[in-house]
Amino acid sequence: MKKFDKERVLLAVAGPVIALAVAFVLSAIVLVASGKNPVEPFALMFEQAGYSDVQVLILNQASMYYIAALAVAIGFRMNLFNIGVDGQYQLGAMMAAIVGAHASLPAFLQVPLLLLTAVCTGAFWAGIAGVLKVTRGVSEVVATIMLNAIATSLIVYMWKPDVFGVKIGNNSTTGEMHESGWIPGIDLGAAGEIYGLVVLAVLLGIGYWVVLNRTRFGFDLRASGASSSAAAASGVDPKRMVLTAMLLSGAIAGLAGLPILLGDSHTYNLNFPTGIGFLGIGIALLGRNSPVGIVFASLLWAWLDKASPELDFHGYDKEIAVIMQGLIVLSVVVSYEAVREWGLRRQQRRVGAELAAGHVLGANNTTKEVAGR
């Protein structure tokens, strides 16, 4: 495993590259079909990526995508589908905003308090699905979908003026947070400000890698994902693993909205970004659940988001970016599966040839894990 394996690298790179190529070609076809120039929009969007203010926007947006995708990826690594990241991050951000508006501690206590609030809220919301799955056998997919819908109602309820809400014009907000809870950004002058919590996203990525690849818990988690019966036979308690993974996933999900909350909006209002949890699913898939892969995937996604508004000024519709996102996810999952099956067949042939030649099977016959397939 440790040895540098050219074939493995080739297989790992082939999937996303093929997928991206197919997605670009298909989007170009859509553009041609609607009577537009198929190349210019991409040129315009690439040009956008060169401007430093757009780069800052992309980085800020990517930080939230990254955290949400990590939350999804933890579940994927053990065959759990946490579709509820969307509700978890929104509730987490809202609770943090409410606590931030009502508690006023010095900054070195306030910020950890807010982070903790978001983590606990997210973990609690995901934990409901985890407990239901472990004790009652309810599918986490359905449970988290229901919890998303309940979270939406809960948020609207908490926006009511007699609960925690503060009306500002037509906008429902949770009131301005105390300034000690604001996290200063990295000021880049005219280009704008990078959210301070981008650092948190980086730390979470490192933490994710360390926990999954360098701890016993991470090993158990990956083992349960690969084969729950084999993991159970080697002494892993599958129920505890499900619950822990769900809690962990929810805890990270709770943080996904904080970069913008503590760095920019300082209140949870109607304009707060929604749907990041669902996008996180696509991003985690594209990044193959690897902490580095997800970086690229979330940057790609944020680029499509932030560079596309420019298209409106040149006679194109910016929605082509959303089509591209859908096409990318779809072609990514198809190409990963195709590449995986191709790799498997190749390996079987090689092992067969080695066996026929009388070699002893090497230890190197493990197959490539494919993300959240």
Partner: protein
């Protein structure tokens, strides 16, 4: 994921007994339960004076809201009975709303219905190609289709609707109505009966009145599709083969069933039904397409299907429940919902007694305490926030799933990858 679980793994013979396939409710028992529930509702109505809860117009709104959820649920049923999990129902519904309105405003509502259906089928076809031919994880594919459908309709909407009267980037021009029908005589008679406020009789009149007053033709088709689906899937050779692909594709293959063909057909029909649900939203419920019109109904349809234990009848009850609670929300129902709190408390207490008779004292005590709390809530307040109403169906689904998930039985090879010849 070295060796993903496949349809072969789950269908190995084992010494374990098969789990019970759910309590079989005979028709008389089921009717008794429904009558009992109605009687309880009637008592609550008389006690609280909230006449709205079984009003004719309330019931007809409930039916209208239940139809798209039920159609999405039927779509889910077809796909899952053939072993393909379809979480892309939402996306297929979105395609249905757009295609339906697009064809509807140009060539008349019935063309719209047909084209919307085809739009949903296209989504289903894509899902089938990705999951059946390429064997991609079903949930992943469904999520991708949801994203893609949203993007495609958002991209197409300005191209198709801008520049027409009443059309904009987010909304289509108006579509003509499909037409409604009211059963003459019967409808008026039932409304009169309903208005009298008699115990039980008026409530039944309200329920039936909702079914015969101002019903769209598409509603009629949707309602007919429930027994229709049951008949096709459980009473025809085609249905038996289709279901065998969801239970044990390897065995089906060994009997000469072309599993791929049946899976493709099932998923395409599934998409068509979801598309029809979308059409209902953009032609009947509203006379136009509006961005974000489905608002998660595809997911709710899926939940209704699981709630109904992968059976058409249960699914219809689930969809009805969602539709009814939705209608309470729409029709300024905070007093009505407040009345229903009493019903909930009563049901919980009855449940507690039932549990106590079956000697499950701990559960009985917990249920009783919850019931008492709900009653206290009822007694202590005059109104219920509308958000509580909005969340009610989801909470109910969660509770029902938590109580009965072990008794639910999904098709055995549901969501499993299958390759031709893998059982050899």
């Amino acid at each position: 994921m070295t060796a993903p679980t496949t349809a072969t793994d789950v269908n190995q013979p084992s010494l374990e007994h098969a789990p019970p396939t759910g309590r079989r409710m005979s028709w008389p028992v089921l009717l008794l339960v429904i009558a009992g529930a109605l009687a309880l509702t009637s008592i609550v109505r008389l006690v609280t004076g909230a006449d709205g809860i079984t009003n004719v117009s309330q019931m007809s709104t409930a039916l209208q809201l239940a139809v798209p959820i039920g159609l999405a649920g039927l779509g889910g049923l077809w796909a899952e009975r053939a072993g393909v999990v379809n979480i892309g129902l939402e996306g297929m519904m979105i395609l249905g709303t757009w295609f339906g309105a697009w064809a509807g405003f140009q060539w008349g509502p019935w063309t719209g219905v047909l084209v919307g259906l085809i739009g949903g089928c296209l989504g289903g076809l894509l899902h089938a190609i990705v999951t059946v031919t390429f064997n991609v994880n079903h949930i992943v594919s469904g999520v991708a289709i949801n994203i893609l459908a949203l993007g495609a309709t958002r991209y197409l909407a300005p191209l198709a609707f801008e520049g027409h009267q009443g059309g904009s980037a987010k909304q289509s021009p108006a579509v003509e109505s499909l037409g409604h029908f009211t059963v003459p005589g019967l409808s008026d008679w039932l409304s009169e009966l309903n208005a009298k406020g008699w115990f039980f009789v008026s409530d039944i009149a309200g329920l039936l009145g909702g079914l015969v007053t101002n019903v769209s033709w598409l509603t009629l088709i949707a309602v007919a599709l429930v027994p229709g689906t049951w008949w096709i899937l459980w009473r025809t050779p085609f249905g038996l083969r289709l279901r065998s692909c969801g239970e044990n594709p390897v065995a089906a293959e060994s009997l000469g069933v072309n599993v791929y063909k049946y899976k493709y057909l099932a998923v395409i029909i599934s998409g068509g039904l979801a598309g029809l649900g979308g059409v209902f939203l953009s032609i009947v419920a509203n006379p136009f397409y509006l961005e974000g019109q489905t608002s998660g109904r595809g997911y709710i349809g899926l939940a209704a299907m699981i709630f109904g234990n992968w059976m058409p009848g249960g699914l219809a009850i689930g969809a009805g429940l969602f539709g009814y609670t939705d209608s309470l929300n729409l029709r300024g129902g905070s007093t009505n919902v407040h009345a229903l709190l009493l019903l909930g408390a009563l049901l919980l207490v009855i449940g507690a007694i039932w549990l106590a008779i079956r000697k499950k004292f701990v559960q009985a005590a917990i249920t009783f305490v919850v019931g008492a709390l709900v009653f206290a809530w009822y007694a202590g307040t005059n109104e219920v926030p509308s958000q509580v109403v909005a969340a009610t169906p989801y909470v109910v689904t969660l509770v029902v799933l938590a109580l009965s998930a072990q008794r639910l039985r999904m098709p055995k090879a549901d969501g499993m990858p299958y390759r031709k010849g893998q059982g050899k």
